[in-house]
């Protein structure tokens, strides 16, 4: 903003050069700030990568080596060959859980959100207020009762048990309702005049318009599931069923100090997500921009 404002100031003749110079200096200053901040963001990740490629004896070398003196993939090999840390499997598990949870949440929440936004029915307002209120309850208070419920339903130690309670979340409904409310009513009314039912209107008009909001919710939901630590830790018992966050935690167990392997594990867990993120990031920003959330 600071950079764009001056361009709108009507330039007078004499200070034109100094104005340009000022603009240039301003830009350089901004770039310097941006680069410094970017370094703060990148260096820790680079350090993680660097440690994962060092031999065990150099993890604590007295001189900091950003580039390892001797490269070795020993940490990766040990990690990948260690049967008790099937990190590839954990990765796939996280992917499965995240994908299923995201898909289901999108379906369930978009239906509910549309009803709360656009349909008239008895109890709409109090129900929605009730939903909103739970947004402020700490997740942990549901931990124990839900654990009991999942145990009674026989879903312990299964992906179902991990996914199910998350589907009750209210954030997605709230988020999408905001968006649906922002869609001009004319479009839907026109469709209904043409004889479309409410269901048809939803699928043909509202849902396609909501694509960016749904994409955003998809990313938020997926990453939340991807990062979830405590719930899968409680629900999943078998090593082969673990997701990444609790799995990675076992690398930091009481009896190991395998920092190289921990960092290697962190890299393995991070890289694919970062790749997906970099390819999708433009889309994320655009979609947030078009949701009701940002446009108020």
């Amino acid at each position: 903003m600071a950079a764009t404002t001056p361009s709108r100031v009507a330039p007078t003749r004499e200070p034109r050069i100094s104005y340009r110079r000022k603009l240039l200096i301003q830009r350089i200053a901004i770039y310097i700030i941006l680069v410094v901040v970017a370094l703060i963001f990148l260096l820790p990740m680079f350090w993680m990568l660097s440690t994962s490629l060092k031999p065990k004896s150099q993890w604590f070398a007295r001189e900091i080596q950003w580039i390892p003196e001797t490269f070795t993939t020993a940490s990766y090999q040990r990690l990948l060959n260690n049967q008790s840390t099937p990190i590839g499997l954990w990765f796939i598990n996280s992917l499965i859980v995240g994908t299923i949870a995201t898909t289901l949440i999108l379906i369930i929440d978009s239906l509910a959100a549309y009803a709360y936004a656009r349909m008239e029915f008895r109890g709409r307002k109090p129900l929605f207020a009730l939903l909103l209120a739970t947004l402020f309850l700490p997740g942990l208070m549901f931990l124990i009762p839900n654990f009991v419920t999942i145990a009674r339903l026989g879903f312990l130690n299964s992906f179902t048990g991990v996914i199910l309670p998350g589907l009750a979340g209210v954030f997605g409904v709230f988020f999408l309702r905001q968006f649906f409310e922002g869609i001009p009513r004319d479009l839907e009314e026109a469709a209904q005049i043409d004889g479309a039912s409410q269901v048809q209107t939803f699928f043909r008009i509202a849902l396609p318009l909501a694509k960016p909001a749904i994409a955003t919710l998809a990313i938020i939901t997926f990453l939340a599931s991807w990062n979830d630590f405590l719930w899968p830790l409680l629900i999943l018992k078998d090593r082969e069923l673990q997701t990444l966050p609790p799995g990675l935690r076992t690398l930091q167990g009481a009896y190991t100090s395998e920092y190289g392997q921990m960092m290697a594990g962190a890299v393995i867990a991070a890289v694919p997500v970062l790749v997906i993120y970099v390819t999708l990031q433009r889309f994320i920003v655009q979609s947030v921009a078009t949701t009701g959330l940002a446009g108020q």
């Binding site: 604590f60 700490p138 942990l140 409904v173 405590l230 940002a294």
Partner: protein, 314 residues
């Protein structure tokens, strides 16, 4: 609407009937509502019920009704729960106070810098957002590694500069610094992206008008940008408070709740760690449920105040 005039008499009768049988909205909300009742509504009340018992899921026969005993323990000095619970709660509130301002201000500043048509803006945006894609366990591990005192990056360079670096992870207030840094680094990008999107929605003509009026950039920021961002900032402040209240994995991995304090309770032990410990390490699940409800009440109160202060919404 206007087309219905001729058919009104026919439609009127149908309308009354349709009004009764229009189940479509209910069908739309039903899947979510069922899950909501099972996993948010029911547990709310079952948690309330459990909190009245000495309860361990593995020993149902040993359950014992204790009335408000579990709550009384939290408010009676000298019980095993009292000191550690309040210590955890105060720590958590402390963390909210430390973490929310940077989680709001820094993303705002970065978003302002990035809201230009300069080259490479997309790249920077991607970099700042990237840590959000890492799992909390990874982030905590990484920053623990960086802050540790023997060969950790930060102390190495501070020592190079001739400073006597603090024991980050094991002394206050530095342990909080490490946790706040890790948290801000991790989640700042999300807030930034949302603010950025909102910034891009502010119409240019507002700035043009203010520039013609001779307003400086800073004046424009306070007169136009900030007021226009208000709904988004409320959203961000609220979600940041809630997220910070749920602090768990960062101290769990980085400090294990330490440093220990005289009189009990770790200096960075969050209330969520406390509840986890009570319910799943000591297996006093009734007492843990009672703790959850006390925390929930306080969170709701804080959220309410937040809305009263920042938003005369709708």
């Amino acid at each position: 609407m206007a087309t219905g005039v001729q058919q009104q008499s026919v439609a009127a009768r149908g309308a009354r009937r349709r009004r009764k049988v229009n189940w479509t909205p209910y069908l739309f909300i039903l899947p979510h509502l069922i899950l909501f009742i099972v996993f948010l509504g029911y547990p709310f009340f079952s948690g309330l019920y459990i909190s009245l018992f000495q309860y361990d899921i593995l020993r149902p026969a040993a359950s014992r009704f204790v009335g408000l005993g579990n709550y009384a323990n939290l408010f009676t000095p000298g019980t095993p729960q009292y000191q550690t619970f309040w210590n955890g709660l105060i720590n958590t509130i402390e963390f909210v106070v430390y973490s929310v301002p940077p989680l709001v201000v820094i993303p705002l500043l970065l978003a302002l810098l990035l809201n230009t048509r300069m080259r490479g803006v997309n790249l920077f945006r991607a970099i700042y957002f990237a840590p959000w894609a890492l799992s909390g366990a990874v982030v905590a591990l990484l920053w623990w590694w960086i802050f540790q005192s023997q060969g950790g990056l930060i102390n190495y360079y501070l020592a190079d500069l001739g400073m006597r670096p603090p024991r980050w992870l094991n002394t206050l207030p530095w342990a909080w610094v490490t946790i706040v840094v890790a948290t801000v680094w991790w989640t700042l990008g999300f807030n930034m992206v949302i603010i950025l999107a909102a910034l891009q929605d502010i119409p240019d003509y507002l700035y043009e008008a203010s520039a013609i009026d001779g307003a400086t950039g800073i004046q424009a920021f306070f007169r136009i940008t900030l007021p226009m961002l208000r709904p988004v900032m409320i959203f961000i402040i609220t979600t940041s408070i809630i997220a910070s209240f749920n602090l768990f994995i960062q101290p769990f991995i980085m400090t294990n709740g330490g440093p220990a304090q005289a009189g009990g309770g770790g200096g960075t032990e969050s209330v969520m760690m406390r509840i986890y410990n009570e319910g799943f390490v000591r297996n006093l699940q009734g007492s843990a449920a009672a703790m959850s409800f006390v925390v929930a009440s306080i969170m709701i109160a804080i959220s309410y105040i937040n809305f009263r202060v920042f938003g005369k919404r709708d």
